[in-house]
Symmetry: C2
Subunit: 429 residues, 2 copies
């Protein structure tokens, strides 16, 4: 496998640190694939520095891991799950993944998803929805649900970590919007580029897989932030700055190893991959918005205005979980969200939370259908999402203002080189 | 009424033409209100030239007409209708419109929607959702449905033009998502600024009006377009460039008089106002996307790539409805969308179409819930939307790929000066 220029995707791929990246990358070429690239440290994977945005920005599709994991969050996103149809077998699934890979790679360069058919009057079959949008930082990231392994006779290859997530108290999961055999995450700087990619991938799946659910979200890049990394914080519809305690996997190999599958015992198709937990967390905004600001801040443990912990400092100041008021009451309440979610509280459990907000209008009961598309990446959900959610489900002060409506877990294959397709080592392994 | 700097809102409010605008505006100050401002010609109302975008861009709320009509389309939009509750009377409706006006004016400047309450620890009750978004070109535009006049004992003041739209063949309207007593259109450059404004206005309505429906849309400013005017063209989910034949009301007083209510016989509250038709037009994308490109282009009458009419030229070249192929067949088919929608075909009927695309995931039947939030502005719907839609409903080639699911008509009051509230002249008239 050729290690392609993923560094160009990451913001650090430009400027002085970008030069270092290119040198490091060249040193890696031919050095033995994704594992070597991952082992080489932050140069290739860095997420720091300023990144280009907008129509002309290209995030390379090929590389040692899939784009859309350590990539900065794009403003527009669609998440979709598809189920394999009754006639799908390993050959058809492989054909679909080959078609998806080719279309995603072309669209990420701002090209039509298919080459023009000779004699067809230049008609590529494309609808033109994304014309003028440019590459727009488009990423498409593909994953596999547990059901896919059974359906394709690959049960022995199914990783243990892909077991169903446990039931959590207060979950109110809608099966129709949970799970799925195949997962696609699309992100882009442009809404038409994003919709176009979604529609294109759905169209390519016809006859092989049927869309099970789609969720669409938005975010805003941090205003004026010099470092729009994957780990950057964004507001959510509750007004919180979300993701403050995110790891910075581009900068710390130990943290990175908690996000990406790097172990030498991992199957080749999963090396450089990850596990993604998707949860649709609806926010009960009619209640939340009526609370006094101090109540809202105590439930979270952070100030609304700047995201600083209630124990002081700025957004990036570590929270002091031991701090107490003069009357002895802890500044950060026992059930405050940041206390229960803290890696320290969860024996170091780390995830890269890279989600989007959603606003889907009114529910039949008149309440807003709004919240967070929680998307969390980790090398193993059993030591990432699960312990954290177990603790949160036992008493998070925010839980009474949210409802987990959908849940899914997917294994995300490692990246591919040109000529390869996503999951090839699994389907042909 | 003081005529405030609406010119600063319009792109033309900057640079050389902006200087002319300011001079023209100053000449108008104290000259007698909206009618005089409207009569003064394109200087105040111009929509040409390059406009600022992004977090710092402010579109003034006050002016001779409401913002959000001749304003360039912002990327994020929410449309909402509310119904007055059983206890609403004229005084409560007036209090709501006063509160909405104040909040909208403040949010358009990037301020919290309410001033801090003394003694409340600086708590404005704001959720902070829009913190960091800046003014973000936020506009909130308010309108009145026919039902409001009956509910508030204002039936004699209800304009004849606000009569229900006729039934059109093939309409499949959902009453729950049609009509409404009050209308709000929110547009912004930032998704959190837009959602925050919507939630704030809904919260202020509690006890007086209940949200009937909300629709959310997106668009993309034309890439690199030097003239992001209200009349600019944008793609839609079918891939068409939408709005090519739009009037340019900022540049042509005769066209402007078809968009804004300018007649001396208009009631004062409606002077400088408009009528807005809102239609939710779902697109049957699963069918449309499977058509060969020439079929799609013939249904529209324009090329997908650049929006040029099939009779040649560029996007802005007038269509030649008489052109025929060598075999005598018209180049623009008898049922092509642009033939049936052309002002020429409709005795000059003109609307400013200023809509947004929507993508709301999957319908229960698995089809995409996507299409166009059609938003059309005109001085009189009886000579604007109605004749055009009558003709389209009789045979538009596009109609078989679309479904009109919701419909509403609102009278939009003229703009307000500081200290006034939207609709004051109606409610206190």
């Amino acid at each position: 496998m050729t290690v392609e220029g993923r560094a160009a995707e990451e913001p650090g791929g430009r400027g002085p640190s970008g030069d270092r990246s290119r040198i490091a990358r060249r040193a890696l070429l031919g050095a033995g694939g994704a594992a070597a690239a991952l082992a080489a440290g932050g140069a290739v994977l860095t997420t720091s520095g300023a990144g280009a945005r907008g129509p002309a920005a290209v995030i390379p599709f090929h590389g040692p891991y899939q784009a859309g994991i350590l990539t900065r969050r794009q403003p527009y996103a669609h998440l979709a799950a598809l189920d394999l149809g009754p006639e799908a077998d390993r050959a058809r699934a492989a054909a679909l993944l080959r078609a998806w890979t080719g279309a995603a790679a072309r669209m990420s360069r701002g090209e039509p998803p298919a080459a023009a058919c000779p004699g067809a009057d230049g008609d590529t079959g494309d609808t033109g929805v994304a014309l003028g949008a440019g590459p727009a930082s488009l990423t498409a990231t593909f994953g596999f649900g547990a059901g896919l392994f059974d359906r394709l006779g690959l049960a022995p290859a199914r990783p243990e970590a892909l077991a169903p997530l446990p039931d959590f108290p207060d979950d109110r999961l809608d099966p129709a919007r949970s799970g799925g055999d195949l997962f696609v995450q699309i992100g882009a700087d442009d809404p038409f580029a994003a919709v176009h990619a979604l529609r294109t991938l759905q169209r390519l799946a016809r006859g092989t897989a049927r869309t099970r659910w789609v969720m669409s979200g938005f975010t805003r890049p941090p205003a004026g932030a010099p470092s729009p990394a994957a780990s950057g914080t964004h507001r959510n519809p509750m007004g919180q700055l979300d993701g403050t305690a995110n790891p910075a996997p581009g900068e710390d190999p130990a943290q990175r190893a908690r996000i990406l599958v790097t172990g030498s015992d991992a199957p080749p198709w999963l090396t450089g991959g990850s596990y993604v937990v998707v949860r649709r967390i609806r926010m009960l905004l009619d209640t939340w918005e009526g609370l006094p600001v101090h109540h809202r801040e105590e439930a979270v443990g952070r100030r609304v205005t700047d995201g600083a912990p209630l124990t002081g400092g700025t957004e990036r100041t570590p929270v002091d979980l031991e701090a107490a008021r003069p009357d002895g009451i802890p500044v950060i309440a026992a059930n405050a969200h940041i206390r229960l979610a803290a890696p320290r509280t969860n024996a170091g459990a780390t995830m890269l939370r890279r989600g989007w907000s959603y606003y889907d209008g009114l529910r039949p009961d008149g309440a807003p259908d709004a919240g967070l598309l929680f998307v969390a990446w980790q090398a193993d959900p059993r030591t990432g999402f699960v312990p954290v959610q177990r603790r949160l489900a036992r008493g998070d002060a925010l839980a009474r203002y949210t409802e987990h409506e959908a849940s899914a877990l997917f294994a995300v294959a490692g990246g591919v080189a040109p000529g390869e397709y996503v999951g090839q080592r699994l389907l042909e392994g």
